[in-house]
Symmetry: C2
DNA sequence: ATAATTCCTACTAAAATACAAGGAATTGAT
DNA sequence: ATCAATTCCTTGTATTTTAGTAGGAATTAT
């Protein structure tokens, strides 16, 4: 049972963006460095998040990315699902799957069980916002080394 | 976020054994057929469950496997962990991982989040017993086509 | 003009997954 | 005593997924 680095890295990137919310675009190079994630990999992840409308990009020098909504309005669930697809501890209980997917479902006792697993994960993912993820024990976490580097005079 | 077929198939096999608890050994061939799982794959899965002591094998003709404990005493968590290892939505929050595994943990706001995910899954897995998994809506599920085939006279 | 940046596509090494294959050992039934 | 059914054990392997790399085109502030 694991989430892939897509979801995990993507979430960390979104947290970084949330920490810099309303301070102008933040470049992926900065996030890649502070979060220690490969830049080109991060580009691919953020591209997905842009396509679903969670972030917007500003091209050109001093460009970067910004959240399209307040961190309190974006959930971990939105981010993770965008990057990893619907929650699905097993295929037959993937979120959004058509009923009748599995022909053994009338006799399958494990299906309700996996649904419970799925729902309990969904509950945590959907109740947690990026704003929540900017705090530890309710304390806002200081933004380490984020923010645009000073341009030499 | 998915569980592999090891955990899912293994659990189904254990449910089948639970349905035949105290009726003598059940062969993997029967389970493989009724559950539509490859026999040799199933052999490998059950081997793991035997090594951790959840089932015992009886060799020879009319042999098979039996649970080593009452279905009400074996949890889905035990079965799944045996087959897939510790619950770990991310490596740094794997069950049983040493603290200090990740050097960024003092500033990492996502770690407590992934721990919550892990714990909510664990709670479902650990509260659900094989006995629970033999029922749907509290009704004991009939055992379809299980039980030793009649020997020709 | 130039440097910084997003944006896009294609490729790839390594790991994990889901088995298949083959055979040795054991045991109940005939 | 033989045979068939079964567990038990090891090794191999095709396919898929993961986690990137690489290269370059388009855009924009300075």
């Amino acid at each position: 049972m694991k989430f892939s680095s897509k979801g995990r890295y993507g979430l960390r990137a979104m947290i970084a963006l949330a920490q810099g919310y309303h301070k102008g675009p933040i470049s992926l190079a900065e996030i890649a460095e502070s979060e220690d994630i490969s830049l080109s990999y991060l580009e691919q992840l953020i591209a997905v998040l842009r396509r679903v409308g969670l972030v917007e990009g500003t091209r050109g020098a001093r460009g970067g990315y910004q959240l399209t909504a307040d961190p309190a309005l974006i959930t971990a669930g939105q981010v993770v699902r965008a990057l990893e697809g619907p929650l699905a501890p097993a295929e037959c209980v993937a979120e959004g799957v058509k009923p009748g997917f599995c022909r053994r479902q009338t006799i399958c006792t494990s299906k309700p069980f996996w649904e419970q697993v799925r729902d309990s994960v969904a509950q945590v993912l959907d109740k947690t916002t990026l704003a929540d993820l900017c705090t530890i024990n309710g304390l806002k976490v200081r933004q380490m080394s984020l923010g645009r580097k000073k341009v030499e005079a």
